[in-house]
């Protein structure tokens, strides 16, 4: 590599020349210098070789499920403001969100899984259900707003769950 002080003046511009980023007057100056300087011509060749090597690499394939993963994250972001590692809380689930979940195959799978989990884990209800007026106000609001029970992670209180099952069975 040339350490000629004249060439040093052009060093940074050799790169910019490759990128087409020189003003016309400066580009003309650089090209004129290159016509008379083999060291700088070699330098440009080496820099161009770097670009060629960089561009020759095969790009990574976009995973087929990336769009679906993004969609899930968008749904999750739209569905609530809970931070990912915050403890679960009983949160109202809006009917619109429930219907979107039901339409998706993931929502249908969750619905089926939730139904199965309920069947397997709930004890037979021994007697009269807790009255609605015995529920804390927050849980009552949850019961009245929910259309489906597929989002198990939202349910923190088993009594509320039992009540909803009873309400669904009563409605069918």
């Amino acid at each position: 590599m040339s350490h000629d002080p004249i060439c040093a003046r052009f060093a940074e511009d050799l790169s910019a020349l490759l990128d087409g980023e020189l003003a016309p007057a400066r580009e003309a100056e650089v090209r004129a210098h290159l016509e008379g300087c083999a060291a700088c011509r070699d330098r440009v060749g080496a820099l161009r070789g770097v670009d060629e090597a960089l561009r020759a690499a095969a790009p990574p394939a976009v995973p087929a499920d990336l769009r679906a993963r993004l969609r899930a994250r968008i749904e999750e972001a739209d569905g609530g403001t809970r931070a990912p590692d915050a403890p679960p809380r009983v949160a109202p689930v809006t009917p619109r969100r429930s219907r979107r979940w039901q339409r998706s195959s993931l929502g249908a799978a969750l619905t089926a899984a939730a139904a199965l989990a309920l069947y397997l884990t709930l004890p037979r209800l021994p007697g009269p259900l807790p009255g609605l007026d015995e529920l804390p106000a927050e849980e009552l609001a949850l019961v009245m707003e929910l259309e489906t029970i597929e989002d198990l992670e939202v349910i923190a209180n088993l009594e509320v769950l039992e009540l909803m099952v009873a309400m669904e069975e009563g409605a069918s």
Binding site: S15, A16, V50, A53, A57
Partner: protein, 199 residues
């Protein structure tokens, strides 16, 4: 240049409620963004996560989007900021000092003769290794300029630095790679000093 920005048009359509426009933007930009972020982060899994994060932010921004720059500049800015933040976390430095991926890179284009294949592969591995060793901003500037084809002005917008800084970053990055590849045995081929006029 006065070319209409198709991506701005799509983003504005998305802001107006056209969800398919968002899908089109993902189709157009997920691959270049992944290509850029994978080499910037030096990790494929993190790059995939960050591509999602970028588009999540694009999605969130639909109500307040104002086209004051090219859409791609904005996209690369979001991605670069997220990546540089990620790179500053200590665990990534420890995990990703690793060596070449023997699966990459591969040649694009016509079938060359065997000696050329070996030379090119050696150069390809060398450039990836040396690229990983560059300071982050130099790596980002060079990738955006030389691979993604952004102008210095656009790179400046993506990196949030001046154009003069971009020129210096690109120059240093390329020079370092050229010197290290020459020193490391992956010497670039002899080429004429100037061929085509750069566009």
């Amino acid at each position: 240049m006065d070319e209409p920005d198709e991506d701005v048009r799509l983003m504005l359509a998305f802001s107006a409620g056209d969800v398919h426009a968002f899908d089109r933007l993902f189709e157009r930009w997920s691959a270049p963004l992944l290509r850029y972020l994978e080499r910037l982060l030096r990790d494929a899994a993190s790059a995939e996560e960050l591509v999602q994060e970028v588009f999540l932010r694009v999605h969130r921004a639909r109500d307040r989007y104002r086209p004051d720059a090219r859409f791609s500049t904005w996209l690369y800015r979001i991605g670069t900021n997220l990546a540089l933040n990620e790179l500053r976390r200590p665990r990534l430095r420890a995990v990703h000092e690793s060596a070449d991926d023997p699966e990459r890179p591969e040649l694009a284009g016509a079938v060359p003769d065997p000696d050329e294949v070996v030379d090119a592969r050696r150069r390809g591995l060398a450039v990836e290794r040396e690229l990983r060793a560059l300071p982050e901003r130099q790596r980002a500037a060079l990738l955006l300029s030389a691979v993604e084809g952004l102008s210095y002005a656009e790179v400046a917008g993506a990196l949030e630095v001046s154009e003069q800084a971009v020129k210096a970053l690109v120059h240093r990055a390329r020079s370092t790679l050229a010197e290290r590849m020459a020193a490391g045995g992956g010497a670039p081929p002899e080429t004429a000093g100037e061929r085509e006029k750069p566009t």
